[in-house]
Symmetry: C2
Subunit: 341 residues, 2 copies
């Protein structure tokens, strides 16, 4: 187009329609990226971060190989109340295994579990709980354990919502995982949950393959007999992937420092600190459970998912703190979307 033609074009109705056509993909893209996130501070911070670090020539550009993003699981990608879902699995497994262990009827902490006596179970403390987790998670092969976890996930429902547990994942976080993946990030779960339990659903539900799931591990033993081989799960804790255990496993297993980290509790604090202490632009975020109506509301005084020191540091250092009640238009997949209250 020469200049006079361009000038006429600029004044024509055609200009309006052409611009509309040109902008249409931009508008629909903006609307589609994080549709369950309110147009608020957390979404803005996340989009600004991703836009900068993926733009070639930007001073904050991060090469694809270094785009490591880490996520806690319990309370960050799915709910964790009234107890960590993996503990609910362990309690159900005790009941399933009970016929083979008649002595459990008279023996704590099993007796308390079988009688649904939460008060009595609580008196056995961490030791009792660890025994229940140990008995249900070890003393069997890795493929047997995975089958147990998958059976439970496929057949059990949450006591309050009556939904399968895998439907109690957070729709806004699923959208965040997709958004990051489409922008070249490699996503890891780094969680206190036991690694094989999380792998039993992480690929199908989150699209995160087994080799990108890091968690608490038990020792194991390779066994070969008559040409049959198995990995036997032993009752010895090998790594507790909580608190400082998170940056330790990140260094040991990933061997690179993440540039993006999301958690929801004090158990994630060291992972967020380690992420933010690297050079260049980074993002640390916390899911703040503020929504008693659609999910749960808890923070500084909760026994599950306590968020206290990490909330202080997040506030002081201007990390992203997602106000679930304010910033999420829906919580679970399939929930009706709401506009801002």
């Amino acid at each position: 187009m020469n200049t006079p033609t361009l000038h006429r074009f600029a004044n024509s109705r055609a200009r309006f329609w052409l611009l509309a056509l040109l902008l249409l993909p931009v508008i629909s893209l903006a609307a589609e990226v994080l549709p369950s996130w309110q147009d608020g501070p957390s979404r803005h911070a996340i989009e600004a971060f991703v836009t900068s670090v993926t733009r070639e020539g930007d001073k904050d550009f991060i090469p694809p190989a270094e785009r490591i993003a880490v996520f806690d699981n319990d309370g960050t990608l799915w709910s964790e109340q009234p107890l960590y879902f993996e503990v609910l699995f362990a309690l159900d497994e005790i009941k399933r295994m009970a016929p083979q262990h008649p002595e459990w009827k008279q023996k704590m902490p099993y007796k308390a579990v079988l009688e649904n006596d939460q008060g009595a179970l609580a008196t056995t403390g961490t030791k009792g709980l660890m025994e229940i987790v140990g008995v249900t998670h070890t003393g069997l092969t890795s493929s047997e354990f995975t089958a147990n976890a998958q059976r439970w996930l496929a057949t059990s429902v949450h006591p309050r919502s009556k939904k399968p547990y895998t439907e109690m994942v957070f729709q806004p976080m699923l959208e965040l995982l997709t958004y990051l993946r489409e922008n070249g990030f490699k996503l890891y779960i780094v969680s206190g949950g036991e690694v094989a339990f999380m792998r039993a659903f992480a690929e199908e539900v989150y699209g995160i393959p087994p080799e990108q799931v890091i968690g608490t591990t038990f020792s194991s033993q390779f066994q070969g007999r008559d040409g049959k081989f198995s990995i036997f799960r032993q009752a010895t804790l090998a790594h507790n992937d909580d608190g400082p255990g998170k940056p330790e496993s990140i260094e040991s297993i990933i061997g690179r420092r993440p540039v993006f980290a999301f958690g929801n509790s004090d158990g994630d604090l060291q992972m967020l600190q380690w992420t933010m202490a690297g050079k260049g632009r980074r993002l640390a975020g916390l899911v703040h459970h503020t929504d008693a109506k659609r999910e749960w509301a808890y923070d500084r005084k909760s026994n599950i998912g306590r968020l206290d020191r990490a909330l202080d540091q997040a506030t002081r250092d201007h990390w992203v703190v997602v106000d679930m009640a304010e910033e999420w238009n829906r919580v679970y997949p399939g929930d009706p979307a709401r506009s801002h209250p």
Copy 2:
């Protein structure tokens, strides 16, 4: 084309040239895939495997997500004589650190290292060697250790070849890594070497990123002081990634069973067994060091990289056994290629 036209075409000279043109890319591809591999049994087995498992509709087809290939490092991807290169690193580090440790002059096993007295060093046995590895690999932060390893790799040469160690990688294996990667395999190193030592060169030399390097690990401790954070390497072995430790770390870190595994010694046997015991088509391979002229010749009686039980099983089960002297046209990058002797 109708039938008479087709018939004339089939008899024409044009047919020859068209066929030649159509086949040209196939012929040149075949020549380029594994150019340093003799046209022999190992190359045939590898190519037949990759062709089948990557062909949609083939009964042996493996979806890309499950194409996990694992490689030992010492003796499989690079040389390991007269001692594992990481041990040579540790011995050199003792000399570098000696000025800060005047007491070492009189203290075994350090005295033997400083005096280059291999006989005296040998008398200290595994215990002496472990002390030397411990002192050079722990008691510092992860970033300090990586800097030490990279400095040594950049400045040291092998005692016999006088080449940098990173040039003593096997050219045919580099080609195999590329071939597998281009066919959608995800490549892991699973080695008795310490994980951070291997990560110091694996990405640059093998194209294998840190998160796909699995090895022996020491315990570590996340440390935070005055807003500075580090991972401190402790003198406690966390995992010995040799023998049964290999399938154990594969299950713990990858969480999927590999479909392709390559090693060179009895320390790789369990990894190969675990790989081959899965369902569907799989490949296990061994590098057999048969080439005293271009590399080293050793197997059943070697202290480094002993290949005895694994060679028996490989023979019995028809695994791929690469006869280095016969089947590799060149050993190291930059070596002149030779035709078959």
